[in-house]
Amino acid sequence: MSNSFSEIPEYRVTRWETFAIATVAVLLTTIGAISVGWRFIGNTFTPERAEAMANHILDYSIPGGSKGVFSIQLSGAKVAFVNSKDSPPSTQLLIAKIPVNQATDTEWIEQFVTNSFLGEAEMNNRITTSDSDRRFQVTTSQTEEKILCHVKVPVVIQSGLLTQTNQSKPQMAVRYQMQVTQRNEEWIITLLTSGQTATQTADTIFQTLQCK
């Protein structure tokens, strides 16, 4: 039996066939992307995972205990968000650990951690996209030198009124914003406490913060 080229019949490939192949390829790619995206979203908003991430980044202690809200791990950067267990949460802690001197674009993570979320409402375990600064009306702002992770760092302490979506009355609130760099890694921490004892609680929690 000969197997020369002349024995391979010419097959015409129709446009429909090409279109069908391309469609299936796009479909499979979409399925793959969706499955990864779905898993990413699932993992991001898994409370246990968020708390484990937060504990992995930093030692902290929130009075009455804490529960995770979300966590992300991207380009070597780890971001975790935890709340106190009361409802609405009186304490919110956003932590990020970013590798320094690495060829990864971590600027946006810094922006995200310093400017976002705090003061937003938690609804059905999901964060709304509203701008926190509108809800947290800062009345005083000062920078104090404090010891964080055995290093003296400038801590921005802001006081004001926090309006939570499910509360009609604004509450007194205190926000700590700080950054520390150790062992080629940068910790960015934002702590928000609200209620009558907001200042005390913020100070108590700050004392428990320890880089890992």
């Binding site: 039996m1 000969s2 197997n3 020369s4 080229f5 002349s6 024995e7 391979i8 019949p9 097959y11 490939v13 066939e17 090409t18 069908a20 192949i21 299936v24 390829a25 499979l28 790619t29 399925i31 793959g32 499955s35 990864v36 898993r39 990413f40 993992n43 995972r49 484990a52 991430m53 504990n55 992995h56 966590s71 791990q73 070597g76 780890k78 975790a80």
Partner: protein, 825 residues
């Protein structure tokens, strides 16, 4: 064995040979011819050549490192993969060696030894120093010695000296083991036996294993060397990476092992198995393979040179007609009978004369035995009734001394055109003089006494056999020592060509080398060709780029057989011819040759198919190594993964491909390269792309699932690698139906095969892989991660989509057009 016959000349010389006591004394003194004659490679050589190779050393080193790292299963796996190949190679070669030894034993020359006045047929190991041995035409000189009787012989010492001229030898002259007696007979005394003789070199040169690579083997060797270079390059990169990135030794060893897997050891195993199977199959068809690659080599031939006497004809001739010229036919027949009965060097012609004309053995004054080079023989009777010299020879040779009438010339021409071999019987009143060392010359004053016409019987299967080769595109050429017209007539009888272009040795001898080379290509019937012209013709054809096979049976064919790409000998041929040949046709089964040709094509096509699959796998792995390093800064596979991909994806199916391969027409080298590129490039690029996409998808999944307490560089590659192994195996197995399409739906790169067995093997291999993937201990042994049914199904769908994509690229000739490959030219 006792023969009891003592040639008459030795009776005259009173040669008696050694006595039993003398033989015993020499045996006791160790003066015996017991040096082992190597008929093939030694066991030590086989082991050394299979074991001590660079690649084996690399695999062994990797294996040892795995043991030191406490990963014995990896170590065993590396060792098993490579050494199973080595083992198969050794077993195959030992099998071939034993076969060669067996053949050597079957064709081992028996010595005719004169002892105590009687001749004995003994094994050559029983020859002792000073033994008297008989040498006849076609015999091999077994020990070094000196001619001790009045017999005259002509010896072919070409295997010792390279000089193709026949050397006349007479009393007092030395003969050397390694040469062959071409004509005449004589006794010689053994002066050197055992290891002191040159028999070792003879056997090595004429019979022993000689490594001649076929074009396919050369291509594969080139590929292996290129891959070895690539592997060396990657090993250097791994070493640099080890130093600069402080990787663990385990990681580096795994990577080195995967890179080592780029060298296609399995391909060599597949080839070895294919050759082994071919040899066994051919043995059943009365074809003895003396060179392991001979069957595959046969499939490459485009010119087949046949020696008329041995191959086309039955080797039996009969005297058809006697045309008496100088005396009545009855008287002529008496003289002819006496001539044939008295010659000491009988041949087929003299035997045919003796059968037709009875005669008496008479004592001789002188004799010139027949040689194919000289083409005449002569006898001078020691008898007053038949005084002078009688010469029997080819008309064109005797024509130098005889003037033939136009009528006689027409008669000769007419007989030759009928396919008859014409010989002149002439007489000279002169008694031929035979001075030592001088090539015998025809006597003067020759008168033609008669014209003898002999007929050759065409073999029953000759016509069909030749037709089979012609249909396969093989050009047939007949190169014979007979008259050109006789050969041409036989060629017509065998209907081997529409256009018969005849040329004689004499015409060729007058040609310049360039004209000679041209004539070798343009003519297809060559008559009256001397042994060295035969060899020269074969060489010219090879120089013209042809792949030449030469068949032969006589000693005069040895040179041309060794000159050809493939030498084929008849079993009934001389010992020397069988020794020099790559293939021996047992029972002179010329009809088996087309079957061997088809078997060779089958082997070649099988190996090419295997080569395609191996090439795709190797290229995919190599590209993935580079691609994942660039895209994901990682190494795609572990040692066991790579072995699994090879074993399931290629190894298992390629075990069966050579078994079921079909014979097919040979393609030109250019066409072969285009065919390989047409299949290989789309398959490689698409598989690599799909596999890389799958790997990245599952790597992202692994990153998304990375436990919070782990860093990015601690990501578990288990799942991405498992997905990669799975998609690679799926795609490689799905490639098999494209290689051997069972239905038209799979036709894209190769023509319809209609054979479902390949696809079934692919399916079964896929099931074996799924079993490994889902049976926990097996999966753990191969260091695969659990893959859910959903994921496996998803990968299956991707593999099916890949099938559609690759079929689309083949059918639209997308890559062919891009690369400018014109498949139809």
């Amino acid at each position: 064995m006792h023969d009891g016959t003592i040639p008459k000349e030795n009776v005259a010389l009173s040669l008696v040979g050694l006595s039993d006591q003398e033989v015993s004394a020499r045996k006791a003194a160790g003066q015996i011819n017991q040096a082992h004659l190597p008929s093939s490679r030694s066991y030590k050589q086989i082991l050394r050549e299979n074991l001590f190779t660079f690649i084996n050393a690399v695999f062994l080193a990797i294996s040892v490192v795995f043991v030191l790292l406490g990963r014995p299963s990896d170590s065993v796996f590396v060792a098993a993969v490579i050494f199973s190949g080595v083992l198969i190679g050794i077993v195959q070669e030992i099998w071939a060696k034993r076969k060669l030894d067996q053949i050597a034993l079957l064709t081992r020359p028996q010595a005719t030894v004169l002892r105590g006045g009687k001749t004995f047929s003994l094994d050559l190991s029983e020859i002792v120093l000073d033994d008297i041995l008989l040498l006849k035409a076609g015999d091999q000189v077994l020990v070094d010695g000196e001619i001790v009787d009045t017999g005259r012989i002509e010896v072919d010492e070409s295997l010792l000296t390279g000089e193709s001229d026949l050397i006349p030898k007479s009393q007092g002259k030395s003969v050397y083991s390694g040469s062959f007696c071409v004509s005449g007979s004589a006794f010689y005394q053994a002066q050197k036996v055992g290891s002191e003789t040159v028999a070792y070199q003879l056997t090595l040169g004429a019979r022993a294993f000689r490594q001649v690579y076929t074009p396919l083997q050369q291509e594969i060797n080139l590929l292996i060397r290129v891959l070895l270079l690539l592997a060396c390059f990657l090993w250097i990169l791994i070493a640099i990476s080890f130093i600069s990135r402080s990787q663990s030794i385990n990681e580096v060893t795994q990577q080195a092992a995967v890179v080592a897997g780029l060298i296609p050891a399995g391909l060599l195993i597949a080839i070895t198995i294919a050759y082994g199977i071919g040899s066994v199959r051919m043995l059943d068809r009365n074809v003895l393979i003396q060179q392991t690659n001979a069957v595959e080599s046969l499939s490459n031939i485009d010119v087949l040179c046949l020696d008329k006497t041995g191959t086309l004809t039955t080797n039996e001739i009969c005297l058809q007609q006697v045309e008496a010229l100088a005396l009545p036919e009855t008287e002529l027949r008496v003289v002819l009978g006496n001539y044939a009965a008295s010659t000491t060097a009988s041949n087929r012609t003299s035997e045919a004369i003796l059968l037709a004309c009875s005669g008496y053995t008479k004592s001789l004054l002188a004799e010139v035995p027949f040689s194919s080079d000289r083409k005449w023989s002569a006898i001078a009777f020691d008898d007053d009734l038949h005084s002078g010299t009688f010469v029997l020879g080819a008309p064109e040779v005797l024509a130098e001394k005889i003037s033939l009438t136009t009528q006689q010339l027409d008669y000769i021409q007419q007989q030759a055109e009928q396919g008859l071999r014409v010989v002149l019987f002439a007489h000279s009143p002169q008694v031929i003089s035979l001075e030592e060392e001088i090539v015998p010359q025809l006597p003067e004053k020759l008168t033609t006494w008669g014209i003898l016409s002999f007929s050759d019987q065409l073999r029953a299967s000759a016509r069909e056999t030749l037709q089979g080769f012609i249909e396969a595109g093989v050009v047939i050429k007949i190169i014979s020592g007979d008259h050109p017209q006789t050969v041409a007539a036989l060629a017509k009888q065998a209907s081997f060509s529409d256009e018969i272009k005849v040329i004689s040795g004499k015409t060729l001898a007058k040609m310049a080398p360039e004209q000679f080379a041209q004539a070798a290509v343009t003519h297809n019937v060559f008559g009256r060709i001397t042994p060295e012209q035969k060899a020269q013709l074969v060489k010219s054809l090879r120089d013209a780029g042809h792949y030449v096979a030469m068949t032969g049976d006589g000693v005069n064919d040895v040179l041309s057989l060794k000159q050809a790409n493939l030498g084929i000998a008849m079993e009934s041929g001389s010992q020397a011819t069988r020794s020099a040949a790559d293939i021996v046709l047992l029972k002179d089964s010329f009809a088996a040759l087309p079957q061997a040709f088809l078997e060779g094509q089958q082997i070649r096509n099988g190996i090419r198919d295997v080569l395609k699959l191996f090439l795709v796998r190797l290229s995919c792995i190599a590209l993935l190594i580079f691609a994942t390093a660039i895209v994901a800064d990682s190494f795609p596979l572990m040692n066991k993964h790579s072995a699994l991909v090879t074993l399931i994806g290629v190894g298992l199916p390629t075990t069966f491909i050579p078994l079921w391969a079909q014979p097919g027409t040979a393609r030109s080298r250019q066409s072969l390269v285009r065919s390989m590129l047409h299949f290989y490039i789309p398959a490689t690029i698409t598989i690599t792309f799909v596999a890389l996409s799958v790997y990245l998808l599952y790597l992202v999944k692994a990153l998304v699932d990375l436990p919070p307490d782990l860093e990015l560089n601690q990501v578990d590659y288990g799942l991405p690698r498992t997905a990669l192994v799975t998609i690679l195996i799926f795609c490689e197995l799905l490639l098999i139906p494209f290689l051997k399409p069972p239905k038209t739906v799979w036709i894209a790169a190769e023509p319809l095969s209609g054979d479902w067995r390949y696809s079934i093997v692919a399916l079964l291999s896929g099931l074996v892989y799924l079993a490994i993937l889902f049976i926990s201990p097996w999966r753990e042994f191969f260091e695969l991660s659990p893959l859910s049914v959903l994921d496996t199904g998803f990968l299956g769908l991707i593999a099916l989509e890949w099938c559609l994509i690759v079929r689309w690229t083949w059918r639209t000739r997308f890559f062919d057009r891009f690369l400018g490959i014109n498949l139809r030219s």
